[in-house]
């Protein structure tokens, strides 16, 4: 049983949750994720790790309410417990001294970017962070990102904060400025990762993307999370979650993410009516 230590809403549908998990907190590395269940009838959902503290024994999750399980999770309070929590899962980000690394976090994708920025910075990289959101309130974790990055660029679709436009516009600007980028790490909505990858491919900049697909067990047992990478089928849970963005078939992945759209809607409506 993993106790919830803190919960706060960052926006109306995004919340931060600190959970007691001493073993995972000690072991997890940047880029890894967890799977949790909120109740005994519950489904297993994968969530990225936004932060962790090995000494104090906690993990932090930043979650967007998108369906029944995330809604149910958002209703839990400090003092409540999760039904199940397993991790760390997936391969850690490969950290080394690349030179200049641009990390692009889109919306909720900013959360898992943070441990990667920390690790990349610690390895001596010059870190530029591009944080994008639809609107100002969706640009989360700005303070933490500023504290660990050498430079932060913020974009919003509606121009309510930072530069008006998409993260790819900010990336284009960096490239136009003549910044020599050795690696791009993009985490966010699939469509964002797709367009970042298309842009970096043009400029031949190595690019990692972190995929958040449908999963069940998260240990390589079911194949629900399979994606095509360079024409080969990979399992996001054990072969990823990070892959070469230039090789991922994003269109297939986006279709696969919609596999249970009807079920998800039904489940959510049923939950809301209770």
């Amino acid at each position: 049983m993993n106790k919830i230590l803190e919960k706060e809403f960052i926006t109306s549908d995004v919340f931060r949750m600190r959970v007691e998990a001493p073993e995972i907190a000690r072991k997890r590395k940047a880029g890894q994720f967890i799977i949790l269940r909120t109740c005994d009838e519950g489904e297993r959902i994968p969530l990225t790790i936004a932060d962790a503290n090995a000494e104090e024994g906690w993990l932090e999750l930043v979650v967007q309410i998108v369906g029944k399980t995330t809604k149910a999770l958002s209703l839990l309070e400090a003092g409540d417990s999760l039904c199940d929590l397993v991790g760390p899962l997936g391969r850690p980000t490969h950290i080394e001294l690349y030179g200049t690394v641009v990390i692009i976090g889109g919306g909720i994708g900013i959360a898992p970017s943070y441990p990667i920025v920390q690790a990349m910075k610690a390895a001596g990289n010059h870190m530029i962070s591009i944080l994008g959101g639809r609107t100002k309130e969706l640009v989360i974790m700005e303070d933490k990102m500023r504290a660990t990055s050498d430079r932060v660029v913020i974009t919003t679709d509606d121009g309510t904060y930072g530069m008006k436009g998409l993260v790819t516009d900010a990336l284009q600007r960096l490239i136009d400025e003549g910044v020599k980028i050795d690696l791009v790490v993009a985490i966010g909505p699939p469509i964002m990762m797709k367009f970042v990858s298309l842009m970096t491919k043009k400029y031949d900049i190595p690019t990692l993307v972190s995929l958040n697909t449908i999963m069940v067990d998260g240990t390589g047992m079911c194949g629900a999370c399979r994606v095509s990478v360079g024409g080969e089928t990979k399992f996001v849970c054990v072969d990823g979650p990070e892959f070469d963005g230039h090789k991922v078939d994003f269109d297939e992945m986006m279709k696969r993410l919609r596999m249970y759209e009807e079920h998800e809607k039904e489940s959510m409506e049923r939950f809301a009516s209770k």
Binding site: K27, G87, G220, C222
Partner: protein, 492 residues
């Protein structure tokens, strides 16, 4: 007296009259187990066979010749004293019967249901041999199930004696049939035992793979609870290879480690369109249905496809399980596509028959060549090709050869790939000093189950490749003997 009591006393009377001669025993036809009607059962997930009552069990037990040599014992991977437990049933001594079974088998309620007895104890049974049909053999599995179910109905399960604490600690990775068996046998010696399970519920394939209608999950949970009552510590949600490596388990002061992580890596066919929506591995389909109880959606949260036309690929027990699960989830048509003929199907006869009775349509000597999808990425059809059988291959079965130009399409909305599993790579990948073979299976001594790494034993599907529950348990028993010996002598 109720009807049943009258019948039961009748059976006892026959027995008491006089000892039956072998000839008389051979004349008793095998006793069938009553089953749910196929039309009824495809609308529920309840177990298909109801089990024997006392009368039926005693009648079946009467068929046993009590052979001195008892080839059935050698036919059993855990060497249950079969004539002895059968005789106890005949005498109505059910407690003695189940205790006899449990001397060597800690999961009788499970094995009585899912063991391929027709290839083991019942294959060598003298009754079957005399009657020249393995189907006429003593129904040992059904009797085992009867004894195990009887004990559970009593509500009190006798705990084995646990020897005084030795101060030694054993880590067991995986709570499937191999791991559970090792846990029991090592715990009895007085060692501390911790089982690490990756999923949120214990039981491994018994829980996620084998469907409720073949093996009720309550039975698995009860067996695990019994182990916990024996003092075995169970830690779910622990993925060894991620949260701790094997070396870290030794640093945590475990003295020996047993790896029983199974063959959980699904194989796909590597044909075009395999990542279309609606195409599942059997592992995923069954895990959603069984472990996650997707058959109760939306009361439970895990979704599964609502299918009209389902194609299942493969001819093993897992394929039968997937096909029968699809029917129960409401599919109108379930096609089982297998590239060889019925004779080569690796599934148990009982499973094949059950699937057929329930309306699974067999497409034999046919093989899928590609999946066809719509623009939204959903599978809409499969293209298959007809096959003919050629010369026997390495497996001894006749090799299927495609017949040119025989391609045809079947309209489907769901496909389930059940062509087998590879061993789970998580532990071997993170423990390079555990040797594996070319299929990725852990190499272990066939008698001691010792791996190439000192203190590490392995058994079940991680060693055997995808095999059976009872073979995993057989390896578990051998491994436990070797672990107990290793902990006593310290000699590797």
């Amino acid at each position: 007296m109720s009807e049943k009591e009258v019948a039961a006393s009748g059976a006892v009377e026959i027995m008491e009259e006089k000892e039956l001669t072998p000839k008389e025993r051979l004349k008793i036809p095998p006793v069938k187990m009553p089953e749910q009607d196929p039309k009824e059962r495809i609308r529920n997930v309840n177990e298909v066979p109801y089990g024997y009552d006392e009368e039926l069990a005693k009648t079946e037990a009467m068929r046993c010749l009590q052979c001195k040599k008892a080839p059935c014992i050698k036919g059993c991977p855990v060497e249950i004293d079969i004539p002895a437990f059968v005789q106890f049933i005949l005498e109505g001594k059910y407690r003695e019967s189940i205790n006899k079974i449990k001397e060597t088998n800690i999961l009788p309620a499970v094995c009585g249901r899912v063991c391929p007895q027709e290839e083991q104890c019942q294959m060598v049974c003298i009754v079957g041999k005399s009657l020249k049909s393995v189907e006429e053999a003593v129904q040992i599995g059904k009797l085992e199930r009867f004894a195990a179910d009887w004990e559970m109905e009593q509500g009190e399960v006798e705990m084995p004696e646990i020897k005084p604490p030795t101060g030694k600690k054993v880590a067991i990775v995986g709570s499937g049939p191999a791991g559970l068996t090792v846990a029991a046998d090592v715990r009895k010696e007085g060692h501390e035992v911790t089982i690490f399970e990756a999923l949120h519920k214990p039981g491994g394939v018994l829980m996620y793979g084998i469907p409720e209608f073949r093996l009720p999950k309550a039975i698995v949970m009860r067996e695990v609870e019994n182990l916990q009552k024996m003092g075995v510590d169970l830690r779910t949600n622990m993925v060894i290879g991620k949260i701790y490596s094997i070396d870290e388990l030794f640093e945590e002061e475990y003295d020996a480690v047993f790896v029983g992580t199974g063959a959980g890596q699904p194989l796909f066919m590597r044909i075009p369109g395999e990542n279309l929506n609606g195409v599942y591995s059997a592992n995923e389909y069954l895990t959603r249905a069984n472990l996650m109880q997707a058959y109760s959606f939306p009361e439970t949260d895990t979704p599964i496809a609502r299918s009209k036309n389902v194609a299942v690929f493969g001819g093993g027990n897992v394929a039968m399980d997937a096909a029968r699960t699809a029917l129960r989830l409401g599919a109108d048509n379930v096609y089982l596509v297998y590239r060889r003929s019925r004779k080569e199907m690796p599934a148990r006869i009982e499973e094949i028959e059950h699937a057929e009775e329930e309306g699974v349509q067999f497409y034999l000597l046919q093989n899928p060549v590609r999946f066809i999808g719509d623009e939204d990425g959903w599978v809409t059809a499969i293209e298959c090709i007809k096959m003919e059988l050629g010369e026997p291959d390495e497996s001894g079965r006749r090799r299927p050869i495609p017949i040119k130009g025989s391609e045809f399409k079947i309209e489907v909305d769901t496909c389930i790939v059940a062509i087998g599993n590879a061993s789970n790579p998580l532990v071997p990948n993170t423990t390079p000093d555990i040797a594996t073979n070319k299929w990725g299976n852990v190499v272990a001594d066939s008698e001691t189950l010792k791996t190439s790494k000192e203190g590490v034993f392995a058994g079940g599907d991680i060693v055997l490749g995808a095999a059976t529950v009872i073979l995993a348990m057989g390896q578990g028993r051998k491994a436990a003997v070797a672990i107990n010996e290793y902990l006593k002598t310290g000699e590797w």
